[in-house]
Symmetry: C2
Subunit: 334 residues, 2 copies
């Protein structure tokens, strides 16, 4: 059977177990030109929260009654005359929160488990890694000596953003929740400093760690941290808006950045990004990131939970912060 | 005697008569290499409110006990061996809210009353005009067919922004307060449409006037209007932050744009600008704007009040909206 999580309700605030239902369906048969993929790992990302809202956005919302949308990585176990994919191939794509899926292969791409562990293809070598790479290089336009601040610094995107900025010769300050994450980004990932927003006043801490201000702020969180960063921008600073996890369960009452006039005083910019826009260059980015991984310049951490039954409570960890690095759910053994 | 307004207090909220004091001082004597300028017109601008706050900004605040800073235009009536300026020359610069000033001429430039009326040199051919020109062309990056929205549409900056956008082939929608201003921007200035924010729901009106969304929003006001504009951005839209007059008397509790995540969804940017950065190109801009004025493509309107004694209540008109076009105070007869 194919266990799958179906979206049942549009949540107000934080989703819970009643938001989805777990169903068992027969394993589907691939039609002519299609393949059956056995899914091993599901990617859990903050963006999924947005896809559950019935609102105009950069992609249509997940429909009620549909399998919850998610990135995934798995193995082709049956090919019905697919022109490229054959049994035994490993692939990554939009398989959703389920154990099996049938696809014609559009928007799926092959991955090689000999080069990197499978979960890394939905993390550092997948959407989060691509978001970090294009966000900090193309939108942040970092150059050597820049002071780079990144929130969600221990997360799938933030941890890569900071490491790329270090590779490029920036001073990198991370913001994360709790001593363990702060220790991790400094000692394991090589950030210059970390700020624990749960135990420090963020304004004071930024004054201490960025005494001359911030050239690039890569924002994954929004809320008060965005305001504090705006208050310390340098001239012509760039604020990259990648996400706003502090606000996602808070739709009716989103907190706007009251310090936005710092953009005016400092001739600074605030720009939103969606990784899909860079799809044409994913390959090049993956190659460069792969090289950095091989050379040990880039570290990738996946936090893997097991069992498709545990999807709702595992998903919640994105918002409670109880995870380290890329959050992954293993749904079938490799 | 030289009547001048001295800053006495840092206002909380809206300034009033007690914010400044009117003093009479002897007319100063120019030192070696200096000139004495008899001032005719003082420029009243929303930015002056910001200069009164004791806060780090793009220029230092006006000091308590100093003459209130303001742009001005006047005539050189005495030259003490100034290398360039001679008696009878007309000049524009930072003369402050007073009738006479002495200067070495730095940051002053000559103007020609035969080419344009003097007040225009502190309006359309001065800072407000330059702000409009560089803001909409260099920061807004408008192109033919763009939908351009401008707030403060009947004001010194907004009225020029909209007219330049029309010259460049855009659809231009203005936002202004009251039927008279809305009529003015459509019938006199040639905007395609105007929205009266005092009598219409701004969200509904934007839906009607910009059914396909907004490519460039030039913001002079901030607050709810900024939020409404953000909610209707098109893909890759540009929001130019020029000012936030709705928030200037509201420092402790500035309203942040809660719809800022529209920047993310639409890959849009929000960028602040300060006109001083374009100083090197003022001459070129003034030449092009002068040509448009001559050809009747650009209309300039100055709203001139008289009497230096009336500075505080005239200044207040910036915030109550009781003025049309560029607000000017005449302090000495030409």
């Amino acid at each position: 059977m194919n266990k799958q999580w179906i979206l049942r309700k549009r949540p107000e605030g934080m989703p819970d177990a009643s938001t989805w239902s777990l169903e068992s369906k027969p394993i589907p048969e691939p039609g002519e030109g299609e393949v059956l993929v056995q899914q091993h790992y599901i990617s859990l990302d903050p963006a999924m929260r947005g896809w559950m809202n019935d609102a105009k956005s950069y992609i249509p919302p997940v429909e009620l009654g549909a399998v919850m949308r998610a990135g995934s990585v798995g193995k082709v176990i049956k090919s019905n005359n697919h022109p490229k994919l054959k049994e035994g191939d490993f692939v990554s794509g939009w398989g959703g929160v389920q154990q099996y899926t049938v696809t014609d292969g559009e928007n799926w791409y092959p991955v090689d488990p000999a080069l990197a562990p499978l979960p890394m293809y939905i993390g550092t070598l997948g959407m989060p890694g691509m978001t970090a790479y294009f966000g900090i290089l193309r939108e942040g336009k970092i150059k050597e000596g820049d002071v780079v601040l990144v929130s969600g610094a221990a997360g799938a995107v933030g941890s890569i953003v900071g490491q790329i900025a270090k590779i490029k010769g920036c001073r990198v300050v991370g913001i994360a929740g709790g001593a363990a994450k702060c220790k991790y980004v400094v000692e394991e990932l090589g950030f210059d400093a970390a700020i624990d927003y749960k135990s420090e006043d963020i304004y004071d801490a930024l004054k201490r760690e960025c005494p001359k201000g911030i050239d690039v702020y890569f924002d994954n969180v929004g809320g008060e941290i965005l305001d504090a960063a705006l208050a310390r921008l340098r001239m012509r600073a760039r604020v990259v808006i990648c996400g706003a996890i502090s606000q996602y369960n808070n739709r009716e009452n989103v907190r706007g950045p009251k310090n936005y006039l710092s953009l005016l005083v400092n001739r600074a910019s605030m720009k939103g990004m969606i990784v899909f826009d860079y799809a044409a260059d994913y390959g090049k980015a993956a190659q460069e990131m792969g090289q950095w991984l091989k050379e040990g310049k880039l570290k990738s951490k996946e936090d893997i939970y097991e069992g498709i039954e545990n999807f709702p409570e595992t998903f919640t960890r994105l918002f409670t912060g109880e995870k380290m690095g890329k959050l992954v759910l293993k749904v079938l053994e490799e």
